[in-house]
């Protein structure tokens, strides 16, 4: 059995775990990152894409607001290529308590969140689809962040510094020798092979799954209550500015424009299972109704798909009353040496995407304490690969890139303008035959036709390139079709239903994929 040895083993390849890997690599530590699935396939990849200004927390949770605005400013610098500076509005609609507006302004002033009231006319000039009945509008520095791009940029940056990134490697056992955690046994989900990883410190960055990982290490009482929320992606930019309702944060009160779509979110339902992907129709209806309040005509607009994200809400069943857990209200860092007397193990959970870098910094600080070393954090100043120029992303970039090679470049996914060269490069780089992995890297199949045209193309290119067997290629194609359908059918109506029927025609009529040789 293969054995790896490292300074730090990070379990969980979401934004936080990958951020820890990047942070630790920058501090010169040797790191192995594992995830049972692909990077950012869990909670991180399943949110609406908001880079908080802090405005949403300014009244309810001032400390979180302070963290958000701080991280917002840092990430705009170091992860500029992953961030689009959309700006954000808080708007008072006829359904909102008008008194909240002044509380928001006050809260922002107290927490240092830039917030400027603008005229309704100005807001409507900038966002013509916004509900003209809004009475007050505040501008805040909300933005969007492409989390897959961010996570893979950190992963590549870490790899360049020697880190080993192992997606599809699940921890099946966590080893404990005496009062110390010494590493884990992992299984490669694609080959079934098992191997050992010895680590001086193991980090549990499992997010909503952190309780399960803590259980594996034999540590009791790490309870993460998964809060399930759905989001719906609309076909295009109904707004180009993040639009929040000016009220206490609640269900369906935000539209985030990200990449080519706008996402309305979210709902919040407690669940027992972090892998619970249920979508209830009443939740969909709620989001559509709330969307209508912000953007009249929302229900006539085209919904592409829905997905479920699971927030990790941390509850410690083992309050010690001492300073054993370094906790903000936003996230929880458990130093198990302090909490449980177990060395070499740290758990980070809770929190929000916007503060992933801060969470990583605090976690690696704790790791360094375990290692007995002092190594300063550099992630607040070191740019991620691709973000060196400091220029934030613009939506038109893919269009501009294609325009430069208008005649010479073949586009495979037309909706998301994914060229053949990028697809081939991603296939080689990931070595994956799972088109869903490629999707997260390139946005393949994420546009209006939901793979109707590109799934066959991508499967064909992959089959030829990697000399896949017919069976492997057909599996890639059929799995991706099923994966796209999963997010489509619970919100399938109107224009998208017409699209789905055309796609059916292509796959079941023209190609007849239901009768491939078996």
């Amino acid at each position: 059995m293969a054995t790896l040895s490292t300074d730090v083993l990070v379990i969980g390849g979401g934004a936080t775990g990958t951020g820890i890997t990047w942070d630790a690599s920058l501090r010169g530590l040797d790191v192995v990152l594992i995830d049972r699935q692909d990077l950012a396939e869990g909670t991180s990849g399943r949110f609406h894409g908001l880079l908080h200004s802090g405005g949403r927390y300014a009244v309810k949770d001032p400390r979180a607001a302070v963290e958000c605005i701080g991280e917002n400013r840092i990430l705009r610098r170091v992860a500029s290529d992953c961030i689009e500076d959309t700006g954000g509005f808080f708007v008072t609609t006829p359904w909102d308590d008008p008194a909240y507006a002044d509380r928001l302004a006050q809260g922002c002033a107290e927490t240092g969140v830039d917030c400027e009231e603008i005229s309704v006319a100005q807001a409507l000039r900038e966002e013509p689809r916004l509900n003209p009945q809004v009475s007050r509008v505040f501008r805040v520095p909300d933005a969007n962040i492409d989390v897959w791009k961010t996570v893979w940029a950190m992963a590549h940056g870490a790899q360049q510094r020697g880190a080993r990134i192992l997606p599809y490697h699940a921890a099946i056992a966590i080893h404990r020798e005496g009062d110390a955690i010494t590493g884990a046994r992992v299984r490669d989900a694609r080959t079934g092979e098992e191997s050992e990883i010895q680590a001086r410190v193991t980090v549990n960055a499992g997010g909503a799954w952190a309780g399960q990982i803590a259980d594996l290490a034999g540590i009791e009482g790490v309870r993460v209550l998964p809060g399930r929320g759905i989001m719906v992606a609309m076909n295009h930019r109904l707004v180009n500015t993040v639009v929040n309702r000016c009220q206490m944060p609640t269900d369906g009160d935000i539209i985030v424009p990200i990449r080519t779509v706008s996402v309305v979110g979210t709902t919040d339902v407690n669940t027992d299972d972090p892998d619970d992907h249920t979508v209830n129709q009443n939740e969909v209806d709620l989001l559509l109704d709330e969307g209508e309040k912000l953007v009249p005509g929302f229900r006539q607009a085209r919904a592409l798909r829905v997905w479920t994200g699971v927030r990790p809400l941390f509850e410690d069943d083992k309050p010690t009353g001492t300073d054993s857990r370094d906790v903000t209200r936003a996230h929880a860092l458990l130093d198990h040496e302090q909490r449980d007397g177990i060395r070499g193990f740290v758990t980070i959970t809770g929190g929000k995407l916007t503060t992933f870098r801060l969470m990583a910094e605090e976690t690696v600080d704790a790791v360094c304490r375990h290692l007995g070393e002092t190594r300063p954090c550099r992630t607040a100043t070191e740019s991620l690969p691709g973000s060196e120029s400091g220029e934030t992303y613009r939506l038109g970039e893919r269009l501009a890139r294609k325009e430069a090679k208008l005649i010479d470049e073949q586009i495979i996914c037309e909706c998301e303008l994914v060229p053949r060269s990028k697809l081939e490069e991603a296939i080689s780089r990931t070595g994956s035959t799972n088109l869903d992995d490629i999707r997260r890297q390139l946005r393949l199949g994420m546009g209006p036709c939901q793979g109707g045209f590109c799934i066959y193309r991508a499967a064909g290119i992959m089959q030829e390139r990697d000399r896949l067997s017919a069976k492997q290629a057909d599996t890639s194609l059929l799995d991706f079709l099923q994966e796209r359908w999963k997010g489509e059918w619970p919100v399938l109506y109107g224009d998208q239903l017409r699209q789905a029927r055309l796609d059916d025609w292509i796959f079941q009529g023209v190609l007849d994929v239901a009768h491939l040789p078996r």
Binding site: Q463, E464, A470, Q482, K486, L497, D504, G509
Partner: protein, 423 residues
């Protein structure tokens, strides 16, 4: 001035069903206007005539299978049409193609036996009647085959196609030719325009013949010319010294565009009017009688008045039937009652993609004469009809042809006279 135009019949929709209905009516002497929002399914579909491919298992003999289906599923459109009428319509269609504007271009096959033709992914798909350009791909004739494509065509992947054909027991391999085309994103249509050029064709054959082995048929994506495919096929088979066939692939469909031209020419030759951009946006009724439909022509709405109307607008795919965001289903053109809806509160879709979706068989409710429920003078044809799952069944063109044919008889009100016109 009142913008109102009068006809003997107005057909709404210019897919296969609408064009067949319009042409048949015009051939019977009626003044017909076909209104179409835009081009329809013809430009997208493989242009094979699929009559019944799966019921639900693979169908060898469509006629026999239709009769069995009719007995078991009285709600199926074929139960209202009958296999005899399907045969008549298919025969009329084959004659129309043969007498159409593409010289020498024919369809081959019939209702006795399905032909199994490769799809672009390499599955084998059953069709009753196929363009002559596809005929040599028939499974029984296909011992050895070379599937050829070009990287410039993102819509066809010869290696994947050949891999699946090989898995089905055919000795299949693939080649990929660099055709030095004018852009990296070519469509089958763009290449079809090249195939129409004899000089280009000669160069293509010279290049391809270098890669071929003995006794191999050659399968190419469906792009063997738009205006004279018969000549293109003959030329290729002559130059390559072997059978050549087309494989339908992603839209646009070159054979489908040929089919549209054939049907459009038949309509025009019979004196029918065709209005593109003529989306029906309004209608007036007098009780059960539809008295006018109006289109949003530039500047103002135009009324089309006729004693009878044919609705051939399609189903969910065309948007003629819509499920709205409040989960209510409508027929959008005339607000006609629907049939086949899932029971209240029942699921509209199931989570497994390849299973039949509960909403799949929704259509406009009709009586045995294909007359829309609640109307005296609206007849329904094609994918607007309830009870079928055309892609799953491989029945779309059979239903479109036969129902288009039948509604023309119903509108004319004198089936005898219409049959005489055919003879």
């Amino acid at each position: 001035m009142k913008s109102e135009l009068h006809f003997d019949a107005v057909v709404i929709g210019a897919g296969m069903a609408g064009l067949v209905a319009g042409t048949r009516l015009a051939q019977g002497g009626a003044r017909v206007c076909v209104l179409a929002k835009g081009h329809g399914s013809t430009h997208l579909a493989p242009a094979t005539i699929d009559v019944l491919g799966y019921a639900p298992h693979l169908v060898q003999e469509p006629v026999a299978a239709i009769e069995k289906l009719v007995a078991e599923h009285p709600q199926h459109p074929y139960a209202l049409l009958g296999s005899e009428l399907v045969g008549e319509a298919v025969g009329w269609f084959a004659d129309t193609v043969a007498g159409g504007p593409l010289p020498g271009y024919t369809y081959v096959g019939g209702l006795e036996r399905n032909q199994m033709l490769p799809t672009a992914v390499g599955a084998l798909r059953p069709s009753a009647l196929v363009p002559e350009t596809m005929a040599a791909g028939e499974r029984d004739q296909l011992a050895r085959v070379c599937i050829a494509g070009t990287p410039s065509l993102r819509d066809f992947h010869p290696s994947l196609c050949a891999a699946n054909l090989a898995a089905a027991g055919i000795e299949a391999r693939s080649v990929s030719l660099d055709l030095k085309l004018e852009r990296a994103d070519m469509s089958t249509l763009g290449i079809a325009r090249h195939f129409d050029d004899p000089t280009w064709r000669r160069q293509f054959c010279a290049e391809l013949s270098l890669t071929l082995r003995a006794e191999e048929h050659v399968g190419l994506p469906a792009m063997l010319g738009l205006t004279d495919p018969h000549a293109v096929l003959s030329d290729l088979e002559h130059r390559l010294g072997r059978r050549v066939f087309e494989i339908p692939t992603l839209p646009p469909s070159v054979p489908g565009m040929r089919l549209y031209e054939i049907l459009r020419a038949a309509l025009r030759a019979a004196g029918g009017r065709l209005v593109l951009g003529g989306e029906v946006v309004g209608s007036t009724r007098d009780g059960a009688r539809l008295t006018a439909v109006s289109t949003n022509a530039a500047g103002r709405d135009l009324s089309y008045v006729a004693p009878a109307y044919v609705l051939a607008t399609g189903g969910f795919a065309s948007g003629a039937i819509e499920l709205d965001s409040r989960w209510v289903t409508h027929e959008r053109v005339l607000d006609l009652p629907l049939r086949g809806l899932p029971a209240d509160g029942g699921p509209r879709f199931v989570s497994t993609y390849l299973d039949e979706q509960p909403l799949a068989r929704v259509g406009v409710a009709v009586d045995g004469d294909l007359r829309a429920d609640g109307t005296d003078n609206v007849f329904v044809a094609g994918a607007s009809l309830p009870g079928a799952a055309p892609w799953r069944e491989g029945s779309g063109e059979g239903i479109a042809l036969a129902s288009g044919y039948k509604v023309a008889q119903m509108v004319a009100g004198r089936p005898q006279a219409t049959q005489e016109a055919t003879a």
